[in-house]
Symmetry: C2
Subunit: 319 residues, 2 copies
């Protein structure tokens, strides 16, 4: 393999000078510069990235920890991160976890090993206590409103749910259910908190059996309709934290002859294009922006103040 020393030899200069030329450092006279460039061309020299990274102590690569790759939510976050990263010459390394704790910890280990310069945790399975010992002095960004000092960016789910609940109340609903991706995780907990707080503030009761968990994909929406039908006391409205699930609900309701919103109102989250297709009233979630801000938090070394993103309601026809 041809390396920088061979170039130096052929060009009749020192390796430092070669390095200077290759990195556009000043203080190299034109003549030597040309000789170096000629040697590079002649020997077909290509830098070894790993040598650069070892030497520099950084990799211009950021790790993204996420559970799944085939959900629009994570695809959109990735777009946001990648777009912003590209602007600053950074690349993305994917750490897909399937919410397996070990896979998640592996990502942190990679960070410790300097395989990536930082980590963006879009969603996690491990407790903060567990993670703390792994992130001493490392650049980690969380996409959630976690307690304690950390770089974090998050969508104000609490406020969104409260606003949504008030909106449903104003439409006369008192019996409201909730469809969640999962119950653990800060973002979900924030939504649940908003849900309970709003219900309490309005003097309405919350029924545990009106909270549907593990609503992730389109088909889960269909299942929710089945469960809803089987209930003796049914909520008249559902807050659904994913447009995919809402779309599944609305389409299945259509098949079953359940009239939306008269019999069942749906207030959704994401404002994904699919909500437009199904005329689903949905909170616009700045997911791409979430990704962009996450990268910025990583990039700006001492940017420690949390970034809070707000949602806005897009009224359509399911409430």
């Amino acid at each position: 393999m041809t390396n920088i020393r061979k170039i130096a030899q052929l060009a009749g200069v020192s390796v430092s000078t070669v390095s200077r030329v290759l990195n556009d450092h000043p203080y190299v006279i034109e003549e030597k510069r040309q000789k170096v460039l000629a040697a590079v061309k002649e020997l077909n020299y290509i830098k070894n990235a790993n040598a650069v990274y070892l030497s520099k102590g950084k990799t211009y690569c950021i790790g993204v920890v996420l559970p799944f790759l085939n959900l629009p939510y994570f695809g959109e976050i990735l777009e946001g991160i990648a777009g912003e990263a590209l602007k600053h010459g950074y690349h993305l390394k994917i750490f897909q976890t399937d919410y397996e704790k070990d896979a998640e910890l592996d990502a942190f280990h990679r960070l410790q090993m300097k395989e990536v310069d930082g980590l963006i945790i879009t969603s996690r399975a491990n407790s903060l206590d567990t993670l703390h010992s792994f992130m001493e002095g490392l650049n980690v960004v969380f996409c959630e409103n976690l307690h304690g000092v950390a770089k974090k960016v998050f969508i104000n789910h609490y406020e969104a749910v409260r606003t949504g609940m008030d909106y449903l109340h104003s439409k006369g609903h008192t019996d409201i259910g909730l469809c969640l991706h999962r119950t653990f995780g800060t973002n979900s907990e924030e939504r649940v908190r908003g849900f309970y707080d709003a219900a309490e503030a309005a003097g309405n009761e919350v029924r545990e059996d009106w909270i549907f968990n593990e609503c992730i994909h389109l088909k889960d929406g269909r299942d929710v309709v089945g469960q809803w039908e089987a209930l003796k006391d049914k909520p008249s409205a559902l807050i659904v934290t994913s447009d995919q699930v809402s779309a599944g609900i609305v389409s299945q309701a259509g098949r079953k002859g359940i009239v939306v919103p008269d019999e069942l109102a749906i207030l959704s989250f994401d404002n994904h294009p699919i909500s437009d297709v199904f005329d689903i009233t949905s909170f616009d979630m700045p997911i791409r922006q979430l990704g962009e801000e996450a990268f910025r938090l990583f990039f700006e070394e001492d940017h420690l103040s949390p970034v809070i993103l707000e949602t806005s309601l897009h009224e359509r026809k399911t409430v």
Copy 2:
């Protein structure tokens, strides 16, 4: 920073022995092994991944070139690649191109620089001629049926479209249109070829204005309906290469009172969950498997025979 030499010093052994212990090589006496492990613990030693990669000449990382991250198609491919990669201890680096040639070439350059061990090209903008000079002796996998020798895995789009056309013919359709993601690119060309061949075989005319291009997202389906309505002579059926677009078409048709399939039949591709929700007849595309096979092609050094994946028709209610 604590490195392998410090460990050696503290443990009173040579660096080779430390390396042996750290890599579970045989021929290290238990006593020294314990001393090394103790030193590792005491100094809180963590390997530097970049040093390993430089030394080994490989990174256990594969680059994935893709235009977009927020399309289900690419999310699914990624899932397939990532799943298979994980099994073999590989990670993924994302090279999002937006179909920009320079961004694409950058990925090849990274490969030359040994930043990744190989590249999976899920879709590309550069010509093969351009790329050829960049892949001399490098491990590159293409997800398309390109001409010439190369690692490749692809879905048999030609056959799928031909089968689809015959299916439509059998239902009495003679005036058939086509919705494409794009016109360039091998996969699209294969579909177009199947489209023309089938029409010709059936003795039907193909109308250029029945071919709709740049149909990518849900909303593009809506636009197609508008364009379709504006046609003086309308096709009675459309072959649509994405369920997202089909869903947009079907939903918009519903709003406009266009009866599917009586007035407009839709034969779609992907068999994405959304096609189930909309009852769209769709070809099942083994996209995840495409990703898995792509990784295998990369991983098995001399696996040069192309992998061809077949589709299967899922009949629902839009034809």
